[in-house]
């Protein structure tokens, strides 16, 4: 399995391309924009976009779908049955399915930032959208939503191995261990964690 990053200057969001090493059917996670750079990334590596995974409905994560669907006959996997006028394959917490090139995807619902926020677990990686980024958790509309978000992160994500790679919708990648240790928003959830790190 190969992973490629694409940074969309519109919305400053990350799009991820996942596919087999030698090209073929591939997955796009959160196509915030479809530009020439992303097209070159897909075509230059001999991929055909067969599946689009959407972490949530916000514009910076879905805006590229219109153009993408004009080029590729891709299935859209999302929480809602419709997304910007396209029918989707609705998915929910606990779903486990194989999409492009038989890549296995596990779905986790982690609401709080938005009611439809999903996290995708593929191999040793989680695609967190706006649920969790390096050093911060997603914004919420009120303290109630924030409590839901923090509890959902704790319940759904913290049981995964510490080595799990965190690939957020915005900002640099991280690991679950680094987030548990250094994310100020998560520190309260994780007071027992060893924060010693390497000796200085």
């Amino acid at each position: 399995m190969k992973l490629y990053f694409h940074f969309a200057v519109v919305g400053f969001a990350n799009t991820y391309l996942i596919g087999p090493p030698d090209g073929g059917d591939a997955i796009l996670v959160d196509p915030g924009i479809m530009d020439a750079e992303l097209l070159n990334l897909i075509e230059g590596n001999h991929y055909y976009i067969r599946s689009i995974l959407v972490t949530h409905h916000h514009n910076s994560h879905v805006k590229g779908i219109r153009t993408l669907r004009k080029i590729y006959d891709a299935d859209i996997y999302a929480f809602h049955p419709y997304l910007i006028d396209f029918p989707t394959i609705p998915i929910k917490d606990g779903d486990l399915f194989n999409c492009a090139s038989d890549i296995e995807v596990e779905v986790m619902e982690v609401p709080g930032h938005s009611p439809d926020s999903l996290v995708f677990h593929i191999g040793g990686m989680i695609f967190t959208g706006d649920v969790l980024a390096a050093g911060r958790v997603g914004s919420t509309k009120n303290s109630f939503s924030r409590a839901i978000l923090l509890r959902s992160i704790s319940e759904k994500l913290f049981h995964l191995p510490d080595s799990t790679l965190v690939l957020p919708g915005h900002g640099p990648p991280s690991t679950l261990k680094a987030e548990k240790m250094y994310n100020p928003d998560l520190k309260l959830l994780n007071t027992d964690f060893d924060q010693s790190g390497p000796s200085s």
């Binding site: 399995m1 190969k2 992973l3 990053f5 940074f7 400053f12 930032h113 191999g123 040793g124 706006d130 980024a133 390096a134 050093g135 911060r136 997603g138 914004s139 191995p161 510490d162 080595s163 799990t164 790679l165 919708g169 915005h170 900002g171 640099p172 990648p173 991280s174 690991t175 261990k177 680094a178 987030e179 240790m181 250094y182 994310n183 100020p184 928003d185 790190g197 390497p198 000796s199 200085s200």
Partner: protein, 198 residues
């Protein structure tokens, strides 16, 4: 894309060494395996999917190398020259760097979370979209560098200079800063408080 394989030794959570089933502490010949890995890095200027977690490297020159999707987590690097390197989606978390140079390097989508840096030089580099969460840095220079979208949240920075840097969308939230200089940098475009939503 390398996979994070964990050492087969009971109760060991380290990553396996390249091509091995155990980590560098638990392989049959740790010294030989480490030597082999260092030699592999020295011999090739383009490294991809290399797993060298827990490696200790002293007095070596890897300048001009390309590291793509490599794992150097929990390593120890003293007097190692990474200048003019191209480092992409590579993992150095919880490593220790002493007297290392990353001058004029191109670093993106890489993770240095929890690292300790002493007397290290990152000047004249492009260090974008990279993760420096919780690092401890002492006597380090990032001068004349582009740090766009890099993240220093919860870091402890002492005598560190960020002179004439691009700090747009750079995070310093919850960081401890002592004798840190942002002279000529656009620090007003960096985040020092958790004020902007995702």
């Amino acid at each position: 894309m390398f996979l994070f394989h964990i050492c087969k030794q009971e109760n060991c959570e380290n990553y396996t060494a390249d091509g091995e089933e155990y980590c560098l502490h638990h392989v049959k010949d740790p010294e030989g395996c480490a030597k082999k890995l260092v030699q592999e890095i020295k011999n090739s200027t383009y490294l991809k999917d290399l797993n060298a977690s827990c490696i200790h490297i002293r007095d070596n020159n890897f300048s001009g190398h390309t590291f793509k999707v490599c794992n150097f987590s929990e390593g120890d690097f003293r007097n190692v020259d990474f200048s003019t390197c191209n480092i992409e989606l590579s993992f150095f978390q919880y490593s220790r760097f002493e007297r290392c140079s990353f001058r004029e390097s191109d670093i993106k989508y890489s993770v240095f979370a929890g690292c300790v840096f002493e007397d290290c030089d990152f000047s004249n580099s492009d260090i974008v979209h990279s993760n420096f969460l919780g690092i401890k840095a002492k006597n380090c220079r990032f001068d004349d560098s582009d740090l766009y979208y890099s993240n220093f949240t919860s870091s402890d920075l002492s005598h560190v200079s960020f002179v004439d840097c691009n700090l747009k969308k750079t995070d310093f939230v919850n960081s401890l800063r002592s004798e840190v200089s942002f002279k000529y940098s656009n620090y007003e475009e960096a985040h020092f408080e958790q004020d902007l939503p995702l």
